[in-house]
């Protein structure tokens, strides 16, 4: 499958990059409204998103990069929810964030799961990932070396600790 990049979003795939990709020349609200809605049903409304991320509402008119790292990550995720994508690709969302923010992101992801969204999370922070994911894929040197559901997590604990060094 080889699609032009701007078509992938219309297949229902949303992307939150590692560096978050918040636009400095756009306000918080403009950042939020930037990605086009890609599904017929549409995604969450602005009010619904602001309920989920109240601090974004307070700062809707400030420039995107004036936000703290955690707020930027929230904005990067929130931005995708409006578009109605069904699959969300998250690249290391917890990187460099304070524990309390990491916890908040975990809550948001669980909420998204509950709403039926598929989330593909790439994460080095195993403690974070294991509390959220239903299914795990272990990657080494760019190749998937193991895949298992959350029910097997306990059985594999030893082996995982060895590979991940946690």
């Amino acid at each position: 499958m080889r699609l032009p990049l701007h078509r992938t979003a219309h297949q229902g795939i949303g992307f939150v990059p590692e560096e978050r990709g918040i636009f400095a020349t756009l306000s918080v609200e403009e950042n939020l409204l930037l990605p086009p809605v890609v599904s017929k049903e549409g995604g969450m409304g602005l009010e619904e998103i602001f309920d989920l991320f109240p601090n974004l509402k307070e700062r809707r008119n400030s420039s995107g990069t004036k936000l703290s790292g955690g707020e930027q990550q929230m904005l990067a995720i929130a931005r995708m929810l409006r578009t109605g994508v069904r699959l969300l690709l998250l690249d290391e969302p917890t990187e460099g964030l304070a524990p309390v923010i990491v916890q908040r992101i975990g809550e948001v992801l669980r909420e998204l799961k509950k709403r039926g969204m598929t989330v593909l999370l790439v994460e080095q922070n195993f403690h974070f990932a294991r509390r959220i994911a239903d299914r795990f894929y272990l990657m080494e040197n760019g190749r998937v070396t193991a895949s298992f559901p959350v029910s097997e997590l306990d059985r594999r604990r030893e082996a995982l600790h060895e590979t991940l060094g946690v």
């Binding site: 990049l5 701007h6 979003a9 020349t25 756009l26 930037l34 086009p36």
Partner: protein, 295 residues
Amino acid sequence: MTMIFGIPVQAFMGQLLVGLINGSFYAMLSLGLAIIFGMLRIINFAHGAQYMLGAFVGYLLLTHFGIGYWPALILAPLIVGITGMIIERLALSRLYDLDHLYGLLFTFGLALVIEGVFRYYYGVSGQAYTPPPALTGAVNLGFMFLPVYRGWAVIASLVVCLGTWLLIEKTKLGSYLRAATENPTLVQAFGVNVPLLLTLTYGIGAALAGLAGIMAAPVYQVSPLMGSNLIIIVFAVVVVGGMGSILGAIVTGYLLGLAEGLTKVFYPEASNIVIFVIMAIVLLVRPAGLFGKDA
């Protein structure tokens, strides 16, 4: 006779007006250049040729088809803009992955070809373009006579600049443009057709140059070299304003036009170089330009 700084008011105001007129065209042209550079990262050396093309389209529409100034004001930018979009699609879009130098070389070559063709058919002497009757004549402002067309040109250029600025700062399309200037790949991943956006941007930039051209036709003469005479100054304006800064291009365009006009009053010998002197000073003190963000 009333005097200002030892200069008759009429002469002073007259030069200020000439400065404002020139500034209007600097602003419109550098605005287009700034938009193109911001989005495409291409230094559009064909901008002067596109300005000349706008004037010639107006001139040819009038002489061959009897189509006057007002329709030409729409048609000339449209034709130059569409030509620009075709050029972007066929040629420029293939250069984005290469060094910026190739875009500069290509547009420079393109400008030489376009100017060469028009020189071959029309020679270097200018052709006069008469403005419509509604815009001829002059009004007495009390302290000076203002030719109606010049007043119109200044106001129209202000409206065009303001309109373009609003389009970029306040609309959805503008937010795509600003975002794609920062990170085109991510904007495309969001589902925005960025290649189309680039084509459109080049078209808008070229159309602005074409509009400036048709507006300039009655003020200056329509000549194949009118663009290359102006383009160097316009590049200086863009550099002073800050590469890629929209507001910088507009404000600096008017300011440098006025500075040039004032220099003609007080020290005429320097009027041809004053813009470049200002550019040199700005580059020394603020290399990113007056409105540029420090890299």
